[in-house]
Symmetry: C2
Subunit: 122 residues, 2 copies
Amino acid sequence: MVTKVKENERTHETCTKALIPVRDALDILSGKWKLPIILALQFGNKRFSELAKQVHGITDKMLSKELRELEMNELVKRTVYDTVPVVVEYSMTPYGETLEKVIEELQIWGAQHRKRIIRKGK
Amino acid sequence: MVTKVKENERTHETCTKALIPVRDALDILSGKWKLPIILALQFGNKRFSELAKQVHGITDKMLSKELRELEMNELVKRTVYDTVPVVVEYSMTPYGETLEKVIEELQIWGAQHRKRIIRKGK
DNA sequence: CGGTATCCCTGAGGATACTG
DNA sequence: CAGTATCCTCAGGGATACCG
């Protein structure tokens, strides 16, 4: 019994350790808008208004907020060109690009899952 | 200009196509409790009350609800043993195990991101 | 033991209007 | 153009009590 208790404790500990980084990653990717923005930027640098158009349904407020967060995490770079009127360009940072593999795995699994669900549905 | 418009349309379309499966995958993994439960089950089959203990902080209601959803997606299997009192065992399905790679990628990226943040913090 | 039923609260996100 | 400011809604999740 003592052994079993220790086993559970160890399991719990190990789970927690595994969980924290996964949470960290998901905190960055989850929410309604971060991924749409990232995907849009992976196709090339974009200005605020271009993103507002291409990320369908997003409001200015959300776009602004999400970009700020992505910038704080150094996934996205914000460049201000000193023109009149001002032009602001957003781009992925090299660090942001390291997300590619994670996103790809999500995409692969998700696509496969969708097929499965549809198959069952019929 | 026409070219540019077409380009944007294509980009938008491609983004949407890439986005849907990623969303599908995240819908399964996001939320506060699904991953903790999955990780716990990856260490072995567990009964309801064992999960309630090991998934720290979860309420019965949430555990029940999340398990039902995981079961509906065929990621988790629920087995009822006809004893008195009744025993219910939860386990990962083979399909559920296919999530391993995705979770691993999230974990790798998250761990690396955490290191980065901590380094900056100092 | 393995859950439901209720009621409640917070915060993510939306709508709209405004600004340097 | 590139955002802020304000106000509002709603669903995810918590607390507590109860049930076969």
